[in-house]
């Protein structure tokens, strides 16, 4: 029949379009892995850059990114989870709650470079932290917060209401129910959300451009008020700002950044699927 044939053709077409979505992703990853793998060795990961960054390694950028991510985690996790607990467990449906939700949606949509401007204005200049790990981490933390709040709220809400009711009926306060029952049950989902937020922070360049990143600084940071190199900015620098850069070094840097971010991604999905299979409700 003609209609069935049309449907067949249509489905194949849809599949082809999906392929158009997927193939470039494989291409990007494939190209970077194939060429970057040649550059990566122990020295590349553990040495200071030398000779105008054309030789040596990327240690300070790698360490810088790890420190920034850590700083982001320290600042964003408590605020993000606290905010999610408020929305899921305490907030009533008032105009104020709706304003909070609106604020979160808005925060999630603010361009990363605008976060950079804000970090420059508030942390670097007004609070006089200077271009520093502290200023960069706090900027990234505010950018990460809406991701953590949304994921954590969803995880908290997926815990059945009945548990809260039972806890209350046994003389538990609201917080006791949250701490003893709801939070532990939601934890895998929350952790997944936190990781997804942090990997976003680890890969961002624009927010750290004016708040922390150093063009070339071949030493490890000594305090939270130091500047540091960072992987995403380093990749930007060596691919646009330094003429005559060996392609190997560029691809190697891109691969390290990609591997860092994708392995966090993998961890998040492993946690999610593992606990989803294990939970009892």
């Amino acid at each position: 029949m003609k209609r069935v044939l049309m449907q067949r053709v249509g489905f194949v077409l849809l599949g082809l379009l999906a392929l158009v979505v997927v193939l470039p992703i494989l291409l990007v990853i494939g190209a970077i892995v194939a060429r970057g793998a040649q550059a990566i060795n122990w020295e590349f990961l553990t040495a200071m850059p030398r000779n105008g960054m054309k030789e040596g390694g990327i240690l300070p950028a790698l360490v810088g990114t790890l420190l920034l991510t850590l700083g982001t985690a320290v600042a964003a996790i408590p605020v993000g989870i606290g905010g999610a607990i408020y929305l899921s467990e305490y907030a009533r449906d008032t105009w104020l709650t709706r304003a909070i939700r609106l604020a979160i949606i808005n925060l999630a949509g603010i361009p990363s470079v605008v976060y950079g401007l804000f970090g420059l204005g508030l942390f670097v200049l007004f609070l006089q932290f200077g271009t520093s790990i502290l200023a960069g981490s706090l900027t990234l933390a505010i950018m990460t917060m809406p991701i953590i709040i949304s994921a954590a709220e969803e995880a908290l809400r997926s815990v059945p209401t009945e548990f809260r009711t039972v806890s209350a009926s046994l003389g538990g306060t609201r917080w006791q129910g949250v701490r003893n029952i709801v939070l532990p049950q939601a934890l895998p989902g929350i952790i997944t959300g936190v990781i997804l937020g942090l990997l976003r922070a680890a890969g961002e360049t624009a927010p750290i451009l004016f708040t922390v990143a150093a063009f070339f600084l071949p030493r490890l940071p000594q305090s939270p008020l130091d500047q540091t190199m960072a992987l995403p900015y380093h990749l930007y620098v060596i691919s646009t700002q330094v003429p005559g850069m060996p392609a190997d070094v560029q691809y190697g840097t891109a691969l390290v950044l990609l591997a860092l971010v994708l392995s966090l991604n993998l961890i998040a999905s492993v946690i999610r699927s593992y606990f989803r299979r294990r939970r009892e409700w």
Partner: protein, 298 residues
């Protein structure tokens, strides 16, 4: 037994703390807007409106015309959306309605991976591999064009568009589908005549969120669009270098003197970006908002 007063106090403290954390989001939005205003407002006094909305952005000559930047952003974003929306919606339809299980299991993680790739990595890929490819296949003098940027941006917006569109398709009641099939339509006809129209408002949301994502994207765009601040008025503008608002801030903020007119002008662009994304997200949000209510056990 625990001291009862102690318990009441700690409960009160925790509740207060959580409430403060809950409200903090509003505080941050206000703080961000405040600091953008604080550093950006002066430009409106230092530079005449005709200059500010003029067609030439040459800060070294005190020309702060933002029009080419705004139009650059619009050009790149609109092109990206034009590419991404059909691709994203069809992929969502494929994933939700058509794909066999194995294909879904491959597609979903791949799209998550795409969402996770840092924009600077995509920008790097765009510069080193995509741009030369564009130049050679299309025979342009340079591969760093608005079109190249739009291509990269389209892929960056895809995960958002696909996942929101998927949710929208998912929300279409099964009875619609059954009704369609019962009337003798094929699955293909049901999808396009019943399911997709039923998910229309969700798909509009997906498009808006994708647009918000695209207009705010910085690094990838800066690395592949060629960054020429020219008015994209001719038909072939799309195949020439362009410069967006975001790229301008990112590229120039590092070099300006704090407190200079140029510095304030960049913050002024920041205000504009903030307001633009605020409006886009507000519009998207009003379609998402549903009244939630938590009941007890029946």
């Amino acid at each position: 037994m625990k001291n009862k007063n102690h318990l009441r106090w700690s409960e009160f403290l925790i509740q207060t703390l959580i409430r403060v954390l809950g409200f903090s989001s509003i505080g941050f939005v206000l703080l961000i807007f405040l600091f953008l205003l604080r550093e950006g407002i002066p430009v409106f006094f230092q530079v005449s409106p005709t200059n500010l909305f003029g067609t030439r952005w040459y800060p070294t000559f005190d020309l702060f015309g933002t029009l080419p930047l705004i139009l650059g952003s619009v050009l790149v974003t609109v092109t990206a959306i034009v590419i991404a929306v059909p691709l994203g919606v069809t992929t969502a339809v494929f994933v939700r309605e058509v794909a066999p299980n194995w294909a879904r299991e491959v597609l979903k993680p791949m799209i998550e991976v795409l969402a996770g790739i840092p924009s600077v990595v995509l920008g790097f890929f765009g510069m080193t591999l995509l741009a030369p490819f564009v130049r050679e296949t299309l025979g342009f003098p340079t591969g760093l064009t608005a079109f190249t940027g739009a291509l990269i941006l389209a892929y960056m917006a895809l995960p958002t568009i696909i996942s929101v569109a998927e949710d929208a398709l998912d929300a279409v009641p099964k009875s619609y589908r059954d009704a369609g099939l019962a009337m003798g339509a094929t699955q293909w006809q049901t999808i396009w005549r019943v399911v997709v129209p039923g998910a229309r408002s969700g798909i509009v949301t997906a498009v808006m969120l994708g647009m918000g994502r695209a207009i705010g994207e910085t690094m990838a765009v800066m690395m592949v669009t060629g960054n020429a601040a020219r008015m994209p008025l001719s038909l072939d503008s799309i195949f020439r270098p362009a410069r967006t608002m975001t790229a301008t801030i990112a590229a120039e903020m590092g070099e300006v003197a704090q407190g200079s007119v140029h510095y304030h002008a960049l913050f002024g662009i920041g205000i504009l970006l903030f307001l633009l994304t605020f409006i886009i997200n507000l519009a998207a949000a009003t379609t998402i908002f549903k009244k939630r209510r938590r009941g007890g056990l029946r």
